[in-house]
């Protein structure tokens, strides 16, 4: 991990006004929704209104979009790699910087939501749901960041967003095709279990990659599903970062090729 790379990633984000505005909106959006809910429904005043942990994915996306691709596009990566820093260190530093910053934002958001709930109903202050939610968010940030770092290392600029959209599109298409096959099999009185199982597996793989969410309640239950989740989560991080390192190692960073 390189401190300079991490700090520069954070400072670069801070210098980008559009991202700061989007970050603020992302932070405020659930608070606005919850306030409206409290205004319209008096029972909501006694609920600990916390946004879903999936918000962490959005924070991560905001921090990670183009985090390596922009350096490749600008050519600044060449001067960084001209220094005694390995590509692996560079990738780990970027991943940590993105995941840590996104986690901080996501946890801060859930704390704010909890504090506001506690102001309305002080009894809610000692509820621990927000702590579970925070841990889930942190795990989600680190998992999503690894995959987004991989996407950013594949392309230059902000094209990783297009890649992500393409990935989502493939997932939707496969899910639709899987569902159609399942229905066709059912209509033709074939054994639909195999098709359904295959569609489910594909769905789980895609969801596991895009949204590596591990619900803590399941995790502490000692369920076999929790072990599977943990394995797929660590596999996602390891494979994404290893692939990002591999991709960047194979790339050539020189304008001489132009």
């Amino acid at each position: 991990m390189n401190r300079a790379v991490c700090i520069t990633t954070w400072r670069e984000f801070k210098a980008n006004k559009v991202r700061i505005i989007m970050l603020t909106l992302l932070f405020l959006a659930p608070l606005v929704v919850f306030t409206m809910r409290r205004c319209t429904s008096p029972e909501a005043l006694n609920e600990d209104l916390l946004s879903h942990p999936c918000m962490a994915s959005l924070f991560t996306l905001l921090w990670a979009a183009g985090v390596i691709g922009r350096e490749v596009q600008n050519g600044t990566i060449a001067l960084v790699l001209a220094r005694p820093i390995s590509i692996a260190t560079y990738v780990y530093s970027k991943w940590f910087a993105v995941a840590f910053a996104a986690s901080l934002c996501a946890v801060e958001a859930v704390f704010c939501e909890h504090i506001i709930s506690a102001v309305n109903s002080p009894a809610l202050l000692w509820q621990t749901e927000f702590l579970t939610n925070s841990v889930e968010r942190v795990l989600l940030c680190f998992g999503t960041a690894a995959f987004l770092i991989l996407l950013s290392s594949l392309v230059s600029g902000l094209k990783d967003l297009a890649l992500l959209a393409g990935f989502g599109f493939i997932f939707m298409t496969l899910a639709t095709v899987g569902s159609m096959v399942h229905h066709l099999c059912a209509a033709a009185n074939f054994d639909a279990e195999l098709a359904r199982g295959l569609a489910k597996s594909v769905e789980h793989i895609f969801v596991g990659i895009i949204y590596p969410y591990i619900p803590l309640s399941v995790f502490f239950s000692g369920d076999l599903f929790a072990v599977g989740s943990l394995i797929s989560y660590s596999t996602l991080i390891t494979c994404s970062l290893a692939l990002a390192i591999k991709v960047l190692t194979r790339k050539e960073f020189s304008y001489a090729a132009d």
Partner: protein, 327 residues
């Protein structure tokens, strides 16, 4: 700036690892082998030497520098810098690099940029501020601009900042791609002076520049690149006899001697007159000795000459000859 110089021990002469940059038969192609950028190029750069790279556009100079930095992978051949491959971390500690098209994180200030590279170079935090300030002073970037965002810098100021960046980390080797590009005349002079000082301090410099006078004044040897390989290597310390193009001016209003008299002397000395005017002539001599002979003859004939200068430098003539040889 002795405190900013490399103090790491250089390999002993009997060491199996030779100090210096050794490029052997490297080939580099682009677009799946369709475009050949470097073709069986071999070059040696000895410690403490300044080597200039000269060649037309597309000769492979920038590609060579990128290969030396490890940014481009060579198809065949080998590059060793102090016995290590270019992309080894130990090599990167030894090399400072200034690319031609330098790009910056434009939101940073000049000072931030230097401190960022100081940290990337693994230099101690205790000396960060002072080291960076010394280097910024060295390239004569005004202190008032140090805290300014890089996006507000002029092209020349960016180039100076880039040069200072290349000196971060006490490099032993300095690879410079058009260091004075976009600089004003004072900037060009600063770069030239800086290069001379760095060379005196023992840095090994590889300088790619289209400013031939700069290369001539700084470099010990010059490699002429053409179509991806070294066409010839010229030792700038060895005097050579070659044709010289001279411009001669005289004070026409102070003498009765005229164009005919100049023509007569020139004919006697077997000179080629390319152009002649009332008070000006452009001639070519076969060698420096012939130039001396001509000047002596003009002085002996009481010709009031007030200026004799070479129209092109030695490197310019060599470059022109090298281009002609190829074609």
């Amino acid at each position: 700036m002795p405190e900013l110089l490399d103090e790491r021990p250089i390999n002993a002469p009997d060491s199996p690892v030779r100090a210096g940059i050794f490029v052997q038969n490297i080939t580099k192609t682009y677009k799946g082998g369709k475009v050949k950028a470097l073709s069986a190029l071999s070059l040696e750069i000895h410690p403490g030497e300044a080597l200039g790279l000269v060649g037309p556009n597309g000769a492979g100079k920038t590609t060579l520098l990128s290969c030396l930095m490890g940014f481009l992978r060579i198809d065949s051949g080998s590059i060793l810098i102090d016995g290590e491959v270019p992309d080894a971390l130990t090599t990167r500690q030894l090399v400072g690099y200034l690319p031609e098209r330098l790009t910056f994180d434009r939101w940073m200030t000049g000072r931030d940029y230097m401190q960022y590279h100081h940290e990337l170079a693994g230099m101690p935090e205790s000396t960060r501020k002072s080291d960076c300030e010394i280097l910024l002073e060295r390239v004569e970037l005004p202190p008032s601009t140090w805290s300014m965002a890089v996006k507000k810098y002029s092209r020349g100021m960016l180039q100076r900042l880039g040069f200072a960046q290349a000196l971060v980390g006490k490099p032993r080797y300095l690879l410079l791609d058009e260091p004075a590009s976009g600089m004003d005349p004072s900037g060009v002079l600063i770069v030239r002076q800086l290069l001379k000082t760095l060379k005196q301090d023992g840095l090994t410099i590889l300088l790619n520049s289209h400013q031939l006078d700069q290369i001539e004044k700084v470099c010990d040897r010059v490699a002429f690149l053409k179509e991806g390989s070294v066409n010839r290597i010229e030792d700038m310390h060895v005097k050579i006899e070659q044709e010289e193009n001279l411009i001669i001016r005289w004070l026409a209003h102070t003498t009765e001697l005229g164009v005919e008299d100049f023509g007569r002397i020139a004919q006697k000395e077997c000179l080629n007159i390319a152009e002649i005017n009332n008070d000006f002539a452009r001639v070519s001599t076969a060698s420096s000795a012939a130039t001396v002979k001509l000047i002596k003859a003009l002085v002996a004939a009481d010709f009031p000459i007030n200026e004799v200068r070479s129209e092109d430098t030695r490197l310019e003539r060599l470059f022109i000859n090298s281009s002609k040889e190829g074609s």
